[in-house]
Symmetry: D2
Subunit: 340 residues, 4 copies
Amino acid sequence: MSKWMQEWSTEAVGPHKLKIAERRVPEIGEFDVLVRTTAVSLNYRDKLILESGMGLALTFPFVPASDMSGVVEAVGKGVTRFKAGDRVISTFAPVWLDGLRPGNGRTPAYDTLGGVHPGVMSEYVAFPEDWFVAAPKRLDAAEASTLPCAGLTAWFALIEKGHLKPGDRVVVQGTGGVALFGLQIAKAVGAEVIVTSSSGEKLEKALALGADHGINRLSEDWVERVYALTGDHGADHILEIAGGAALGQSLKAVAPDGRISVIGVLEGFEVSGPVAPLLLKSPVLQGISVGHRRALEDLVGAVDRLRLKPVIDKRYKFTEFNEALAHLDRGPFGKVVIEF
Amino acid sequence: MSKWMQEWSTEAVGPHKLKIAERRVPEIGEFDVLVRTTAVSLNYRDKLILESGMGLALTFPFVPASDMSGVVEAVGKGVTRFKAGDRVISTFAPVWLDGLRPGNGRTPAYDTLGGVHPGVMSEYVAFPEDWFVAAPKRLDAAEASTLPCAGLTAWFALIEKGHLKPGDRVVVQGTGGVALFGLQIAKAVGAEVIVTSSSGEKLEKALALGADHGINRLSEDWVERVYALTGDHGADHILEIAGGAALGQSLKAVAPDGRISVIGVLEGFEVSGPVAPLLLKSPVLQGISVGHRRALEDLVGAVDRLRLKPVIDKRYKFTEFNEALAHLDRGPFGKVVIEF
Amino acid sequence: MSKWMQEWSTEAVGPHKLKIAERRVPEIGEFDVLVRTTAVSLNYRDKLILESGMGLALTFPFVPASDMSGVVEAVGKGVTRFKAGDRVISTFAPVWLDGLRPGNGRTPAYDTLGGVHPGVMSEYVAFPEDWFVAAPKRLDAAEASTLPCAGLTAWFALIEKGHLKPGDRVVVQGTGGVALFGLQIAKAVGAEVIVTSSSGEKLEKALALGADHGINRLSEDWVERVYALTGDHGADHILEIAGGAALGQSLKAVAPDGRISVIGVLEGFEVSGPVAPLLLKSPVLQGISVGHRRALEDLVGAVDRLRLKPVIDKRYKFTEFNEALAHLDRGPFGKVVIEF
Amino acid sequence: MSKWMQEWSTEAVGPHKLKIAERRVPEIGEFDVLVRTTAVSLNYRDKLILESGMGLALTFPFVPASDMSGVVEAVGKGVTRFKAGDRVISTFAPVWLDGLRPGNGRTPAYDTLGGVHPGVMSEYVAFPEDWFVAAPKRLDAAEASTLPCAGLTAWFALIEKGHLKPGDRVVVQGTGGVALFGLQIAKAVGAEVIVTSSSGEKLEKALALGADHGINRLSEDWVERVYALTGDHGADHILEIAGGAALGQSLKAVAPDGRISVIGVLEGFEVSGPVAPLLLKSPVLQGISVGHRRALEDLVGAVDRLRLKPVIDKRYKFTEFNEALAHLDRGPFGKVVIEF
């Protein structure tokens, strides 16, 4: 094991500050594992944190990114869940193991990797064993790295909270990382999936991935199309990714007793919508911010048994981190991943 | 049984059109029951329908009001659930017996008494037996008439959907009919109840009814007070009655994994709020519009076994219907009821 | 429409009493529909009722069988859900529309077609419109007739009550009608399915239908095999069809927080099992007796959207009712259906 | 802080081996807290383990008992949840923090204090901070020590799993520690509580504690009495403590869609019952073995806010451990506690 490693970090919030540093491979404590990173998957949030800090108490030099796959190199003497050679993936919010979210009403928990906790754009990380989950057996490193945030968010919304069932009608807004996981997971559970997008080309690709219907948001009234496609039933579950006033459209499109999962970046914007459908159809509206470790383990099991393949728009090299970040602004179809 | 009866009705939407008419007591069909009305409880919605029609397909002459108690006078030959002499209360949305709501995404069901279906401001009504529930044994006629809409809305939000449990912290906004039922039901289940109001006098009365804490919305920052009263935990359940931009405050006050039940009149207004707490605390936000018959039966059982007494602000006579309607505009403390 | 029709009926409980009678096509009431039967699907329970009465208050002449598909011939003037020409299927327990079961603790509801209510082995039936559901569009009459009892039982256990999710491990005991629906529904939802049987030939057919694993109960210890196939995890859901002391094996095979759905004929037998796994793994053990109409509608929607094909072991003619009943004793692979 | 302490321990399984030993106060690791014990509450299971080992991999000298309250004396440098002076109670199954149970199908987790983990009949214990919960503010040390096992078991069955609601009818079998917590918690949530016992004297005391009805199992048919008390509805929830063939009675007494929580000692015995009510009433039958830490925190909050007082039959001194154990055989009314 080399004593030195490379990692991307920055000394201050703001664009254009990132550089590769040479640092010592970290030491591990009694309950830690040392993991050699094999891939990192990016989220738009990584870019927001680098640009604005998002109000988080970051530690500098700050290493960005939260989602990784890797191989265990060494374990502390108190470690029981892993051994050297195990393939693992990280968890996004590492103290949330199962059940209710940590934090309180005044101060919601947002203690994630690549934020309050250190990031993973590093050749090695040393974290408590509790922060990792066994990687799926059937995915390569890049694919596996997409599960902790994008995969789990879609799974947590549709399955853990949404109890999606065969025959349900699901609207997935867009074709980003969470959206395409939503499409794949909803199809896996036997749902009928309607994808909306402003790009005809992306809709074609979504249909090729298994979507039952595509709606071009620019040229069609998507709510009317959902009524038409479902015989006026509406959508049993909507993955609401746009947020803002678009929520009003989702409230119109949702079926009685349906569910709207609000998923989006953590900017200061508002959600708003008319109260009549909220009352008369009584949908559940729930914000979803990733999920707990147990659900990630469920997702890993499902991915293996269903041979589900995450959609990667482009794979970049370790040295191409800036190019990969820039790709996020262009609206990738699925995930953007760095291979180490 | 008299062949003629009196009922309040109107020939057109708009204020000041209501009058008492003399009409024949209706005939009953095979599955109907004839019920002599003993009390009618008013909701603000009754006033809105009389004034604007609320976009509903009303039949004229239109008899207003939806919530009644009465005594069965006669039953059709196919009737099995009731017999003459039984004390009953009406159901608000009579085709919704249990489980999921009727209607679809495009056209939410709003087929209620005193709306699409006939109202109950009549000395006798003849409705299908399925539209009634046995009245609680321990309440008088006026008290019993408050359950179908105000009582059930609070119960459906807190118990049927909310699974409230002992020790939970509940914020009840205001001191109207639904709010005071919310207070009483939440106390019955062992919750800690915080009432907000713009009236110090009403807060005193709410405390006398059992509320643990009162917050004056005008002189205090209620979100900060909720944090203080709960050690920053926040509210496990908020009965959100104000709606509109006030929802943003509720999103701040709610605990992680908490629940906000949006309850309000069916005006065209918007709800809006910041997305960050919606995502990071992942509360369930659900509009509640009354509930199904089985839950009303559960509420009746609970009312009897817990000796819960609905709060009636004032009882009016049959001839004082206009005065009772006018009372609704003054923000009653609990319910306004007409005794027959 | 012919004025006369044929139906199978019996004047008394006991074998060998069934015969075809010529009777008048029934009249319909205000809320009834007249349905021309196109297929009837048999359940083992039909045989038990004919042989023993099962303690039910039957009316003679008794027409057996509960599950049918047909075409609406005429509707009463109060009917709103169907019109002539509609393809429909029956519901097994017609008063149970949604939500909680009817009946009470002392006297559980068992008011089903072909039992307390009339049966369907008749060329025409006239029942309330509430007793029917629109047939799936993609199934023929024989296939559609298998949904009301066998299909719904599996769906109710796995989906409505069990919230089965992708990647879950399901054990299906046997290859009868409910079991094969269980296999197909579990596969549709992305679960991993293990079928147990005492017949190697049937296991081969179950694997061809999509089962992931087959266990021969005669030659293998099925609990040990389930441990081996799941890495000691156990089964997340077991469709327990054998009952009796076999429940003890299921308690051993179930995963922590798993679910055992007990499904079986209504003989007087006992279930029993060791208390230690019941306590330490805390599984939910729930008897399942078919389900409500709303769930049948969900199943119909799922069948259409998933193109799920019920498995029919053999199709008989109307005149071959006795031969079809005899087939039930030989352990059919899937369903036995009479085509009209 | 003294360097030496006293603790009860034994060198081998079997009666009459227990003695008080003088040992060094343990050292604490980075994430541990040192707690001075103030009270220990006994469970019948403590006796079974001392007498038979219950098949567990015990470490000798073995210190018995699992439920304690105490005061934090010192904390490791990585500890964040507690500080010196905090009043705490232990958790029974310390690795189960929230959500699903640990363990797997083959090997259910039973890693509890006073079992696989060390016990608490010691003046000081040094455990990871995760193993403790803040004690309720309104209970003395003896009362607080009764929550981790008996209190949490009743809470987990009725509230966390059972979602008990006002007006529900609950049958509590017996008057032991779990049973009396069940009585008190069910009353706190507004349920109607029926207690069964073989002792008229204990029934009187249960009624004085708030039970609505008492049934003497020796002189009455308790199932018939439950029917009579509930108008044939049956029991919505039964705390089944006897186990064995008694389960058959509970299956008869339960309401449709009701719940039977099986709670009992971990002997090898069987549960058994008739299948007909299991199918036709479709109750949920679930074994309950204590619960997770988050639910214990919920219980502590509820105890404080409801001013719930655990029932202690008798308080013993540290030196009277053998007398306290002997008391367990005589069927205490509530809990037996050792005060330090």
